[in-house]
């Protein structure tokens, strides 16, 4: 997918937002040999074999999604690396971090190599996150050095928490030695057995067992303290509650290396939206209360949240159109993330576009220390996302590039649409 050697692409006439370089101005961007060759004022760059007319559009570093389930190896009926990354490209993501809870679990360097093999057909960069414990069983740590050498950018047992205090402490200690981030799925599963949605008036009315906010916040609180004690990098996946945000804020004030991500569905929907037992509203962590959503919106605005991540979790129809309590957790999200961010965060809650771009670019790059990503600084990888922040469009699940259709946003009218996605100087998506 690299740009042909010696060839160049000039993206001209656009408005560049690159928070890492503090740029928010009309600029032209030149990509050459798969890298950023130059960023300069309008009309100043005369180079470029081919040109992209970006007038009226926003040009940013390529988006990075820290949390994606590509389902390979094992569950290619839900998604493949090829289809998942195609959906990522359509959503403006030039890099995705794949979660290891596949079958089998990605817990060896060999599986990391397999994921990164060009034969998988990825159209955007795939950064594998490896299992933190063997088989993600939460008992024996995996080979962090070997996994990192093979290309794993973090470790996690996502889908499940690392529950035991001793195992989490050991995981953070070992990861800290090699500057690796431990990503925690914060859920005290001892409190959530048979629970399928947030504990709320709606869960009581529907007769569904409720997941308490404390199931998340108690784990985040413990891990933030451990990370602080050990000087380790700990990242909270799909944070969903106001209480967990308090722990993250406290840790950040104490200069602990604690970061967090939130999903578009958690800043858009609440538990009151779980109606008619529609499993497209069932995910883990669940949609939370309006108070939690408001806390998340505030944390997105004030800088507490480091990244927007989709937790793109494709499932086949037969795993979703069934009894709510038996249906799988998770929804797709790659293609609706930017539209929801602009519609909800920018237009409705007046969060500046530059902050939103930060949450998709330099923010996630910092979380996992992805060098040369998330910025258009000269010499960086030629990963670029170009979008129209004013374009109104309707998301149609049936036209999704993903193999799966499990989304609550089918038919939603959104503002803000990806126009083109460029990976290493090569265009991998262009809106039709």
């Amino acid at each position: 997918m690299n740009q042909r050697r010696g060839s160049s692409l000039l993206i001209r006439g656009g408005h560049v937002i690159d928070p890492a370089a503090r740029i928010d101005a009309p600029m032209d961007v030149l990509l050459r040999d798969g890298r950023v060759a130059d960023v300069a004022g309008p009309g100043q760059i005369k180079d470029g074999d081919s040109k992209f007319d970006a007038r009226g559009l926003v040009v940013t570093p390529g988006f990075i999604d820290l949390h994606v389930h590509l389902r390979e190896p094992g569950d290619s009926y839900k998604e493949t690396i090829a289809t998942g990354t195609a959906a990522a490209a359509a959503g403006g993501f030039t890099s995705v971090c794949s979660m290891p809870n596949t079958s089998p679990v990605v817990d060896t360097p060999e599986w990391i190599n397999w994921l990164r093999d060009p034969e998988r057909g990825a159209v955007v960069n795939v950064f594998p996150i490896a299992a933190a414990t063997r088989g993600s069983k939460g008992v024996v740590l995996t080979d962090y050095r070997g996994l990192q050498r093979a290309g794993a950018v973090a470790v996690t047992d996502d889908g499940k928490p690392i529950l035991e205090d001793d195992v989490m402490r050991e995981s953070l200690r070992l990861a800290a030695e090699i500057n690796l981030t431990v990503v925690q799925h914060a859920e005290d599963t001892r409190m959530t057995e048979n629970c399928t949605m947030n504990e709320s008036p709606t869960s009581f009315r529907l007769g569904l067992r409720g997941i308490k906010a404390a199931a998340e916040s108690s784990i985040v609180d413990r891990d933030a303290q451990l990370a602080q004690q050990l000087g380790a990098r700990m990242h909270v996946a799909h944070l969903s509650t106001a209480d967990a945000l308090k722990s993250v804020r406290r840790a950040k004030r104490a200069r602990a290396r604690v970061t967090c991500e939130v999903t578009p569905h958690h800043f858009t929907l609440t538990d009151a939206d779980v109606r008619d037992y529609d499993a497209n509203y069932k995910m883990n962590p669940p949609l939370r209360s309006e108070a939690d959503r408001e806390a998340i919106l505030a944390a997105l605005a004030d800088g507490t949240v480091d990244a927007i991540a989709t937790d793109h979790a494709p499932h086949a129809i037969h795993e979703k159109v069934m009894e709510f309590e038996r249906a799988n957790f998770g929804i797709t999200g790659l293609e609706t993330a930017l539209g929801l961010a602009i519609t909800k965060l920018h237009r409705e809650h007046k969060i500046p576009l530059a902050r939103i771009v930060e949450l998709f670019t330099s923010g996630p790059a910092r979380v996992l220390d992805l060098r040369g990503r998330g910025t258009l600084a000269r010499g960086s990888y030629g990963d670029v996302t170009i979008f129209d922040p004013k374009k109104k469009w309707t998301f149609k699940a049936a036209e999704s590039k993903s193999l799966s259709r499990n989304t609550p946003f089918d038919g939603w009218q959104l503002t803000g649409k990806v126009v083109a996605t460029i990976v290493s100087g090569q265009q991998v998506y262009r809106a039709g």
């Binding site: 504990e199 709320s200 008036p201 009581f204 009315r205 529907l206 007769g207 569904l208 067992r209 409720g210 008619d276 037992y277 037969h318 159109v321 069934m322 009894e323 709510f324 309590e325 038996r326």
Partner: protein, 304 residues
């Protein structure tokens, strides 16, 4: 959005008071001892994923006494055991000629899901912790045999409300008639959130307070297997919440005691209370038949 066929009964929550009274008035004209041919030629499928005595037999007798054919399908011994999905089971039953499906299911929302995918009425005979609408209707019917109206009654519901579909349906129904309802039990059984279910609900941790001056007492079964996982000791529960003759005296003189069954004597109520003149427990079971006749007739009979 609801695509359920007319005649479906999925829950009490969405019914109007007129619709509820419609069922109750029709039930009064139903007499299982005088067989009628209202539903002659109709096929009623009883699909039970969970055990049931009262609900199953009374639906069956209700259907048969109006001339319908019934077929019972149990989860065990059917293709459900082989992994057939809920919707495929529904399509199968439709294909063999079902005119109506009565379904009991351990998961909340299963009847709703089924109703959105078949073109025949679906009647909820209890779904998980969600609703048990026919029970609430027969309870209302029973109350009206003793009280002039449902309007403004003072009702105490005592016991494990969190796990109870009977309680949820009863609360929805009585609240629509502006009953004053007190939910009584320990926090594990009656969480604060329960008060959000309907307007006019009050929570009490004292049986004495809840019972004082009430017209109707609804006692719920205590499931011992559920107590095990919780931090409640059985003896404490009995001491604080068991329905005894002494506690019953706190209610109005003409108060009635109800219980959806099965009852566990010596646990949620004493032997004496179960059999006392104010107990309507056996009468509830009896009234299940005409009320379920009304539900089936409304769904299937042309003239009902």
């Amino acid at each position: 959005m609801n695509k359920a066929v007319r005649g479906s009964l999925l829950g009490i929550e969405t019914l109007t008071t007129d619709e509820i009274l419609g069922f109750l008035n029709l039930a009064r004209r139903m007499n299982p001892l005088k067989p009628r041919s209202l539903l002659r030629g109709k096929r009623v499928l009883l699909l039970f994923y969970e055990p049931s005595t009262r609900t199953r037999t009374s639906f069956e007798i209700a259907a048969k006494s109006m001339g319908a054919m019934t077929t019972l399908v149990l989860a065990s011994g059917s293709s459900i055991e082989k992994g057939e999905s809920l919707l495929d089971t529904a399509y199968t039953l439709r294909a063999v000629g079902a005119d109506l499906i009565v379904i009991r299911h351990p998961h909340a929302g299963a009847p709703y899901l089924m109703s959105q995918h078949v073109d025949i009425p679906v009647v909820n005979a209890g779904d998980g912790m969600h609703e048990h609408p026919s029970q609430a209707l027969l309870d209302a019917y029973t109350i009206l045999r003793h009280k002039k109206t449902l309007k403004g009654l003072t009702v105490a519901i005592v016991g494990d409300i969190y796990h109870s579909r009977v309680a949820r349906s009863a609360i929805h129904l009585l609240s629509k008639f502006n009953a004053k309802i007190t939910l009584c039990g320990p926090p594990e059984f009656v969480p604060e959130i329960a008060a959000t279910l309907a307007p006019g609900l009050h929570i009490s941790r004292s049986a004495e307070e809840a019972l004082r001056g009430c017209d109707v007492i609804m006692v719920l079964r205590v499931q011992q297997e559920r107590l095990a996982g919780m931090k409640i000791r059985l003896q404490d529960y009995i001491a604080r919440y068991q329905m005894t003759m002494t506690r019953l005296k706190l209610a109005k003189k003409d108060a009635i005691v109800m219980h959806p069954g099965p009852i566990i004597r010596g646990l949620e109520l004493t032997w004496d209370v179960a059999d006392c003149p104010q107990s309507a427990i056996v009468e509830e079971v009896h009234n299940g038949v005409p009320v379920r006749m009304a539900i089936l007739a409304k769904a299937l009979a042309r003239a009902a």
